[in-house]
Symmetry: C2
């Protein structure tokens, strides 16, 4: 067994270290983050840092890196207070990955990478027409992380755009049926296959499959 220690991590070649550290925690939530500027210029970038923060109120967190290419996104979120998260599907995951390229500020990745903007009434941020699970969020809190200059953005879910048959009877989104993809590390894309839905765990009761299997 290998034990890579702190001192050794710091000495790793930069790109190797970035790939290693980014992939350590396993599969990550994969979404296209849609925003617009106050001038109406849309922006789209792929992110794998969204995390569930709570169901009541319904909150999602995400991490924005300090690098230049993401500044449009953070500026748009701060100035309009709205943004969208949209799942990534196998038919066009390569175009979704392409949104991570450093396009000049003012160039819309919707156009460059071939996505359709979709809007709902009284909500400024564009959704991705090609996705089948889309979330509209309103900014609630921005936390600056001093230790590395990243920003945690917390938003409340205002809209859920999806198809009726992608939500199971118990409320769980069926990401298997939706064909939602996931990513490990920076660039390795995966399509998950369902193994089992388990019943609520209780002390003294052996773990078992849920009766809600879908």
């Amino acid at each position: 067994m290998l034990n890579i220690k702190s001192e050794q991590i710091h000495e790793l070649e930069k790109q190797y270290r970035i790939s290693l550290i980014n992939s350590l925690i396993g599969f990550r939530s994969l979404n296209l983050l849609g925003t617009t500027s106050n001038d109406g210029i849309s922006n789209l970038c792929i992110i794998s840092s969204a995390f569930h923060l709570g169901a009541n109120p319904p909150l999602i967190g995400l991490v924005i890196r300090p690098e230049r290419e993401h500044n449009d996104t953070l500026r748009n979120i701060k100035s309009t207070g709205q943004y969208t998260l949209n799942n990534v599907l196998p038919e066009w995951y390569m175009q979704a990955h392409q949104t991570s390229a450093s396009y000049p500020s003012g160039v819309s990745e919707f156009d460059t990478c071939g996505f359709h903007k979709q809007y709902v009434k009284d909500f400024k941020a564009p959704f991705v027409g090609e996705s089948n699970i889309r979330i509209g969020l309103e900014l609630r809190e921005i936390i600056d992380i001093e230790i590395n200059g990243t920003t945690i953005v917390i938003g409340e879910i205002m809209h859920i755009l999806t198809d009726d048959d992608l939500i199971a009877a118990d409320g769980t989104v069926d990401h298997g049926k939706s064909k939602t993809m996931t990513v490990a590390g920076l660039d390795t894309y995966y399509l998950p296959q369902p193994v089992g839905q388990l019943a609520y765990a209780k002390p003294g009761v052996a773990p078992h499959l849920s009766s809600l299997q879908h």
Copy 2:
């Protein structure tokens, strides 16, 4: 197309809303979180809230809910300053799910759910012997989220315990080969299949597979 709006989300039946909101962002990083008290009582719980915060320094964030069953974990992290994240494998994912049951404080889920504790020199928190990708972390920052009473815990990676052949030439952990599982929502477990590793995206260059395929 369905548009579930904010007002409707608030009116959903509680358990349905929890399942829906928890599953919205897609697949999540799945890990067993290992800690120990200062008295040497170990604790293990399954979490799906870990997120990558940055590679230099190597930081991981996670969300701890305010509910009672997780207090041992947060108390242990605060008092010892150390904790571990360990990936979940198909052979024993049901036992991993069972660690989410509300065992009384002082009962070790390592023993109750059938996991072996593994230690490294000068590091107090126990790793999971059954995992094949294990991360040892030291607490760097605790952020209390006022909006819903959750806690974001930020830690720096001090140890990476894995097998040499699970890290690809470019540094990316091969979670396909490792058989790392993922979860959507609270209880639906999946095993991802690799689709493709893509090259670093550049403006004006069509997206394509990486030459580093593994």
